[in-house]
Symmetry: C2
Subunit: 335 residues, 2 copies
Amino acid sequence: MRRMGRYSILLEAPAVVTGCAAVVGQKEGEGPLGRCFDEVLKDSKAGAETWEQAESMFLNKAILLAAQKAAVKPEDLDLIFSGDLLNQCIGSTFGLREFNTPFVGLFGACSTMALSLALASVAVASGAANTVGAATSSHFCSAERQFRLPLEYGGVRPPTSQWTVTGSGAAIVASGGAGPKVTAVHFGRMVDLQIKDANNMGAAMAPSACDTLKSWFDDTATKPSDYDLILTGDLGDVGRALLKQLMQAEGFTLSDQLYNDCGSMIFDVRTQDVGVGGSGCGCSGSVLCGSILPQISAGTYKRVLFCATGALMSTTSSQQGESIPGICHLVELMA
Amino acid sequence: MRRMGRYSILLEAPAVVTGCAAVVGQKEGEGPLGRCFDEVLKDSKAGAETWEQAESMFLNKAILLAAQKAAVKPEDLDLIFSGDLLNQCIGSTFGLREFNTPFVGLFGACSTMALSLALASVAVASGAANTVGAATSSHFCSAERQFRLPLEYGGVRPPTSQWTVTGSGAAIVASGGAGPKVTAVHFGRMVDLQIKDANNMGAAMAPSACDTLKSWFDDTATKPSDYDLILTGDLGDVGRALLKQLMQAEGFTLSDQLYNDCGSMIFDVRTQDVGVGGSGCGCSGSVLCGSILPQISAGTYKRVLFCATGALMSTTSSQQGESIPGICHLVELMA
């Protein structure tokens, strides 16, 4: 492994995604990517008693399916990196507890799929581990209860709000084997332009995506057209439009042919009543693991930048008047 | 880097702790280790308006002091690993925001100092980064408000309860230079013996410390007497006694000469009204960075096992009747 430029890290021995899976809820299953997901659970409680336990079940199922595809048992993984939006990351803790594997808990808000995949890839490429899991989850009902209002209240959502995805994405990363390769990673910096509106996460996160993409292009002397797909998540339609403007001002054109956002892709914003798109760790997690990684395996994409964004806030920080720092972690994927 | 046995990771090129610092509150400053800490803030709000912002200030100061000792600027760090107990890790987010460095947010509850130091060391030893920060924090008042009862309520604490440390520990890790060496790490597994009493964290976490220590000794074919110091944190007096029993049953004697616990060390449990000892991420963070690492530098200790323990629960999981999984991450330190 060696550093490229100021912030990017080249994996000279690439890590290989040998298995991946996405398990989502019914609404996600009815969206444009519905057929990509490995499992669509019509029962959003997944047979559990609470929304939080249900979120853990989604994560648990995603890891099991990903491990199955990678032909490993979850208990044979050397390490699992995972995190979620719930207080103290209980989605991950209780979803992974039964596997009895070493566990690193992460907090990256909605950027967690890129964060977990980047760290898993570094662990594998460095020889610290041979086979590693990377996962994340979110659940509309557990997120609404924790961050916003009880579902029963039926609060009206502002037009810039996004809809938390019910779902989980999981990937198994190994030092060899067949599958998409993680060739480089870039851990993001916090960018805070003093956005305080917790119902406009796209605006809070777009500047961090711009910061990470710009420094990636600087570090690697590449440009957007060197990639088949640049994928952010989860900026939604508002944040996506903002990012295009911000990048244009930096001299980089993100055309609709090569740029998309997981939050804009997972739902049909015209018909599914989701505000400006999807959000939550499970959004970019399930889009990456359900749709993009399999398309890299199939040869549709040869070189992809996966740039997951997170809003680093809590209800407490918002109630205390703090702004919302954004962060964007990047993973380069190649066929 | 290479794996030793099933779970342990040898850093063939050790990472070096080139600077470390601990910043604590007044009560911690009045404890047995009071003179070890770099800074004791008599104002537990650290000049901030809220307890949460104060916690961020402790973390910010610890990173600044550690960086100063390592002769680097915080903004020149390639990466900072940090986490805390607050919902969505806002202690770390707002404590580190101004440094403008790549940031990996962690959740390991009270095990976070070992988790951040282990990941920072892997990042440095692998070539992924040259100079990396590892930090954590906790604050009695922000933790009480979030996890238990408002301070104003004046609730009586059960006899097995621990006192959350107000403080932060930070370390700078580099690929070369002078200082204690991180020679190996071991990421822990969750161990859950169905303890549900959130006022008896020592009992919830001791089994995970036993699990990690046992598998470390198995992996490395070493025994307790091969070390000058085995340091857990933060089991407190109850958990420490339990761990000694559990280890004895596994055939390993943890004598008082070589074994201690950060939660038992930071306060005088007889006079400071802290229940069975200290807890919180900042407990093992400040004991390691304020007392132990400097003593390794000074030659007092030659080979230390730092085994920080965490209780992976939230108020939601406890209210829903869940038990409390423990986790213990281990870092081997050598002079």
